[in-house]
């Protein structure tokens, strides 16, 4: 490992930038994601040649061409299925899936849920801009109901997916959310995803300036950010608000309430303390998107909602192979060819 460390000290973010011209629209949130990824890779302790990016189809999925690593820009929705084969065949590689809300939650939904269930040790990034951009502006499975788009001129009649809820429902071991306009937060989440052993599901809110501009501005702009965004920290109380005056509590009946803890004289340690190992709390956090109290929406949680390691697919596969090999021994090719019952014709 020493040589690896040495090598990574020498590398900079430029070493992860390919010679291809980046062709996203000006102002696209994808630029920030690319930059944060290139920023963290020099020191995540993975040899550059072991990094593999697998992407599907959509604006997000062009990402692969811009990273100077191994990469495959594949077909719509199938990145996770391809990555599953990559990991099963070579567990040593550090595999990063890059996908979008259409790619993962619509055409690739089946591969998403099964990869979360099987728990390969790879990182699953979904750039969620709540719109189909590369096909020039149709609603996506994460677009809000009633959304007016080219394919829904009278408004969409569908309820959207709630990605963290979907991931938790599929038994994801690691569920997180970050946002394009908060570079430091995104770097933190990407590092955590990299360090986590298991499928690391990372939802990244990403602004599409052309077809869905400002979809997430309330979580990033100064005027609203403190009221609307909740940044989770392990072991810390859930606090938000313009002056950090608001907190969240869980009632005895497992409902959530917003309190002005300072006015009400509630000690911060008596608020909901974030515990990323608690799945029940993670589910409640995932529901904030639809919760309100006296007309006030709950803030949107960002950070690691849930992270509990469990056996990863490729390790179970290898250990099963090793156990059977140890018990039965490798069969010679001639033995396989002859089978159990033979006869001789002279």
């Amino acid at each position: 490992m020493e040589s690896v460390t040495e090598q990574n000290i020498k590398l900079t973010s430029k070493d992860f930038s390919s010679d291809q011209e980046v062709k996203w629209c000006p102002g696209c949130g994808d630029y920030s994601i690319l930059k944060q990824a290139q920023t963290i890779f020099p020191d995540i302790n993975v040899p550059k040649e072991n990094l593999v990016f697998i992407s599907g189809i959509g604006c997000s999925s062009r990402f692969t061409y811009y990273m100077d690593t191994f990469g495959m820009h594949s077909i719509h929705g199938r990145a996770a299925a391809i990555a599953s084969g990559v990991k099963a065949a070579n567990p040593e590689l550090s595999v990063w899936i890059v996908s979008g809300d259409g790619d993962s939650f619509s055409i690739g939904g089946n591969h998403l849920i099964h990869s979360l269930r099987k728990n390969f040790n790879f990182n699953y990034l979904v750039f969620n801009n709540q719109i189909y951009s590369l096909t020039k502006g149709q609603y996506s499975p994460t677009s809000e109901k009633s959304k007016i788009t080219k394919s829904t001129p009278y408004g969409s009649i569908e309820d959207p997916f709630n990605p963290p809820e979907l991931a938790l429902g599929a038994n994801a071991a690691f569920v997180s959310r970050t946002i394009d306009r908060d570079p430091k937060h995104m770097q933190m989440v990407l590092r955590r995803a990299n360090d986590f052993k298991g499928t690391s599901f990372v939802e990244i809110y990403q602004n599409c300036p052309v077809f869905n501009d400002g979809a997430f501005f309330i979580f990033t702009e100064k005027e609203t950010k403190k009221e609307e965004a909740l940044f989770l920290e392990q072991g810390k109380p859930l606090i938000f608000g313009q002056n950090d005056e608001k907190g969240i509590m869980i009632t005895d009946s497992f409902t959530c309430k917003i309190v002005n803890y300072k006015e009400e004289g509630i000690a911060p340690e008596n608020l909901w303390i974030h515990d990323e190992k608690n799945k029940t709390k993670a589910f409640l956090l995932s529901q904030f998107v639809n919760m309100e109290q006296n007309g006030e929406m709950f803030p949107r949680p960002f950070g690691i909602l849930y992270a509990v390691e469990r056996p990863v697919y490729e390790e179970s596969l290898i250990s099963q192979i090793n156990a059977i090999q140890a018990k039965k021994g490798k069969m010679t090719l001639d033995r396989i060819l002859s089978g159990d019952k033979t006869w001789v014709i002279a």
Binding site: S18, Q20, P47, K48, E49, N50, L51, V52, I54, I57, T64, Y65, M67, D68, T69, F70, G71, M72, H73, S74, I75, R78, A81, I82, A83, S84, G85, V86, K87, A88, A89, N90, E92, L93, N110, H111, H114, L317, Q320, I321, I324, Q325, K327, K328, G329, K330, M331, T332, L333, D334, I336, L337, S338, G339, K341, T342, W343, V344, I345, A346
Partner: protein, 624 residues
Amino acid sequence: MNSGVDFTENASVSEELESVVVRFSGDSGDGMQLTGMQFTDTAALLGNDLSTFPDYPSEIRAPIGTVAGVSGFQVHFGSKEIYTPGDSFDVLVAMNAAALKVDLPKLKRGGIIIANISGFDRKNLGLAKYPEGADPLNDGSLDNYVVHKIDISKHTKDCLIDSGLGTKEIERSKNMFVLGLLFWMFDKPLEHTIEFIESKFAKKPEIAKANIKTLNAGYNYCESTEIFINRFKVSPAKLPAGVYRNITGNHATAIGLIAASEKAELPLFLGSYPITPASDILHELSKYKANGVKTYQAEDEIAGICSAIGAAYVGNLAVTTTSGPGMALKTEAAGLATMLEIPLVIINVQRGGPSTGLPTKTEQSDLLMAMHGRHGESPLVVLAATSPSDCFNVVYEACRIAIEHMTPVIFLSDGYIANGSEPWRFPSGDSLQKIKVSFLKSPNGDNGEILPYKRDEKLVRPWIIPGSKGMEHRIGGLEKENETGNVSYNHHNHELMVNLRAEKINKIADYIPLAKPDTGNEKAKLLVLGWGSTYGTIKTAVREAIKEGYDVAHIHLKYINPFPKNLGELLNCYDKVLIPEMNKGQLLQLIRAKYMIDAKGFSKVQGLPFTTIEIKEKIAEMLS
């Protein structure tokens, strides 16, 4: 029976026969497949040449006693070379009325029927939809056959009355009684089946004991009752000297893949989603974990092929297995593999289509899909196996071509040869041709750049796997610039790349054997041209036709894309060309389009293989 014996005549005891076809027929739950396979194994071990045809419904347990639930296993064994499971049967085992109803039409006149009386009561006759009052075992309608009425269920019950087993388990043992009868009838020993039972039920000794007891009871029943006047002997066949085993097509396919992985020194990865009739390849390969074989049961057909693409990308011998409906789902990913130019073996065990079609029945109707079933100009290699054991050779060749030519290869098998079996003089590991693999480990450009799409003299690009230091590069489904592999929308470049991908596949013709007649001469009035599983039937028909004086030859194609280089030239040596296929003329279209000859098609799409007689009659018609 080729000796032409009529069992209704009084034949002598222990008569020698050249070949016999036995059909075991009963309800899906009667264990006919296992009975047939056990009979087959013993015949094979005693040196008979043989061919089998399991023929079962797609429902696991269709309504008991109905014609929909009839499951048959046909075995043709002989002292001569056997290439087909036989057009019609000499012996029919009918466990119930429905079985008789379904299979009687194919029993030879004068053939033997062994009928289980308790399967012919009023209830069973009704379920089989015999007319009210009909009683085939007693109403004289079977006078042209030799009918042995035996109450197999009752004898089994009597035999196991003290076994302590429940009624259901006792009932389930009755197939062993039948097997005992057949072993006596064909003078075959019980020991191989006894060994099989002991090992299969090692953990349930009381079941093993009951099965062995019933098997012996069936055998002894013949001995003591002298119910059969005749006992038959089929001597060992005069096959080429060597060591043999019995093998099905799916099993041969599985071990062909393992052999290729060993000879290429690459790990084997199978990404697959279960589907009839291909699942047995997944099952078989899953047993070889000790050899490092990775089998991945994917969430769907698409993930089956996509996981294999991922495994190929990182340097495994990667395979996906399926049948028609799954093949349809895999087409987009097959196009990606064609664009990426990575080695991938796609196995399609064909079944009756379209849609869900006839899941357990055979057909050759995916040929044009294999050739053209991807969008865009997307050529890849198509190979087809001719018999159960040939699946080994052809899938091995599929792996070799995929790796050495960096291309997806579609291997076509079908339900008939996948489930059918035959004796196989298997090769030694050493005798198998080595498969050459090379991974590019250092830049191949003149200025030290990495050129993932720079080609060698075969027009093959290098295989560069993740983990290779300094070789980082991107590939993908978008059109690539020649050599660099960078995304390119340039129109001239696109045409160049389309042509290069096609030319690469065409060039493979330089690395495969030339076509030659399998039977007959390089010049004749009629050529019968076949592909895939029709081999045995066409060969038998053409041999017999030649014996009868017809000027006919047989060529059988295993390489369909590209065709052997000399095929066009060879076809011109025959006055007429007949192409029998279990489809509506798919090879026919390819041959006519490519060589512009007036070949004639001969179609059968009944979910059943051709019979020898059908092909022979067509030959006679073409030459009259």
